[in-house]
């Protein structure tokens, strides 16, 4: 094995890590905001809002992300009106288009996850909170959101991992993140297997860390499912006996 080559490849690929993380983080943050809007629209009960939100989710979940990215990056440039407008400063940048496509895409999936979480809150809990005289805001802050977030977290963790994987598509519209750099090294050296395996290892490491963080978060948010301190102690003693 050619360790010098491997370590050189890994070092060069790691140069793309900040860009990969940047795209993932920004699009998850922006997409999360969109998703809250979409979920609230669906829960609002106002017919046109519900309809728009449903159509959005249907279209973005029913088409490939790459098509969405191409529509934004190449498609919009077809119109002279857009090229002449202020929006063009952003829409001509591959980075902006990649983040926008990823954010709009994850928004559709996240909205569904959020909606599932909100619907999982038992109605009795909401009734009980109302009976205690909680205002709408307090009710959401103290009862609905904590339960909904806890319920939605595992599915959201999966979505986050899917997003990290999806950032690789940004390389197709010329962004030099990890996959883009891997493709460049491959075209210079023709050692596809070594290069793409190294890139895969980096993604795997990111997603492994990410899944640990989500697991820790889940653990922290579900104290009621953990054993009581004296039970944990007993379990420990029991192991030793």
């Amino acid at each position: 094995m050619d360790f010098a080559f491997y370590s050189e490849v890994i070092w060069r690929l790691l140069g793309g890590l900040p860009m990969t993380l940047n795209i993932a983080f920004v699009s998850v943050a922006v997409g999360g905001l969109f998703a809250v809007g979409l979920a609230l629209m669906q829960e609002s009960g106002v017919a046109p809002l519900v309809w728009i939100s449903r159509a959005y989710v249907f279209v973005f979940r029913g088409t490939p992300l790459l098509v969405q990215m191409f529509l934004i990056f190449y498609g919009l440039s077809q119109f002279p009106e857009i090229r002449a407008s202020w929006a063009w400063t952003y829409l001509r940048q591959p980075y902006f288009c990649a983040v926008l496509a990823l954010a709009m895409n994850t928004a559709a999936y996240t909205a569904e996850i959020l909606r599932g979480g909100l619907q999982s809150v038992p109605f009795g809990q909401i009734e009980a909170a109302r009976a205690c005289g909680m205002s709408r805001v307090t009710l959401y802050r103290r009862v609905v959101l904590p339960i909904a977030v806890r319920q939605a977290l595992p599915a959201y963790g999966t979505e986050l991992i899917l997003m990290v994987r999806a950032t690789a598509l940004a390389s197709i519209i010329t962004i030099m993140e990890i996959t883009g750099i891997a493709q460049k090294i491959n075209s210079e050296t023709f050692r596809a297997i070594e290069v793409f395996v190294c890139a895969g290892v980096i993604y795997l490491a990111i997603n492994f860390l990410l899944s640990r963080v989500v697991m820790a978060l889940e653990h922290w948010l579900t104290p009621h499912l953990r054993a009581m301190p004296h039970e944990q102690l007993l379990a420990k003693v029991g192991d030793k006996l």
Partner: protein
């Protein structure tokens, strides 16, 4: 030319080519899904096995392929495959040369191995959903091995797996768009070609999006239908 003419079936219309490409998308996804089914079944068997080695191997397979970008898997198989073949060719003939490999099969294989990781989880879940008593009952009447598998296990695994398989199928359908990077003329690649030669990217990528929506909607409908057919013998609350 208007968008209507561009997408039509006239002399200068791209309609026929786009439909052909849609058929190609469907074909490559079906092939990939089939490969995925084979891998998924084998990996699920491993994950449910008593052997520690098989369990670990199964876990590694699903963890790796669900944690690595699908695009990377396509690149690895496509470029790595021709790298392997080219070096084999050099070994055998002593000459250097570049060997390209079939984009359809490589693409289907790449999407297939990823799909296999998801299908393995679906099959595993479906197997665990079979009531233990059924298998014990089958054993007690003397069924074993293959008989037990194809009479008791398989029909129920397939029944319980349908909703999960529906999701995995949709994933594969959308992932098949990535195969366009290998040059296989499926729906997205064809729209790229059409956009390039007409300079109307918005028209063609929108058309592609609509055709993908048709494919995913028809799939949803089909899987719902299949689920209700498979579940017709099950009493539900």
């Amino acid at each position: 030319m208007s968008a209507f003419e561009l997408l039509g079936f006239g002399e200068k219309g791209w309609g026929a080519l786009l439909l052909q490409a849609t058929a190609m998308t469907l074909a490559v996804t079906l092939t990939a899904f089939f490969f995925g089914g084979v891998f998924g079944a084998v990996v699920a068997r491993g994950k449910l096995s008593d052997s520690m080695v098989a369990r670990v191997a199964g876990d590694v397979y699903t963890t790796v392929l669900r944690g690595v970008p699908d695009l990377l898997v396509i690149y690895l198989l496509y470029f790595g495959g021709s790298q392997l073949l080219s070096s084999l060719y050099r070994l055998v003939t002593g000459e250097t040369g570049f060997i390209g490999i079939n984009a359809f099969l490589t693409g289907a294989m790449a999407v297939g191995v990823v799909s296999g990781a998801y299908q393995a989880e679906v099959f595993r879940g479906a197997y665990l959903a079979i009531p233990r008593g059924e298998i014990e009952a089958a054993r007690s009447v003397g069924m074993s091995g293959w008989t037990l598998f194809h009479r008791i296990v398989l029909p129920q695994v397939l029944r319980f797996a349908i909703p999960g398989l529906g999701n995995v199928w949709q994933l594969a359908l959308k992932e098949s768009a990535l195969i366009s990077v290998t040059g296989l003329v499926e729906l997205l690649r064809q729209s790229q070609v059409a956009s390039g030669s007409t300079r109307q990217p918005f028209v063609f990528y929108s058309a592609a999006a609509v055709l993908y929506l048709v494919l995913t909607s028809v799939s949803t409908w089909t899987f719902n239908k299949a689920e209700s057919t498979a579940m017709r013998g099950v009493r539900r609350a």
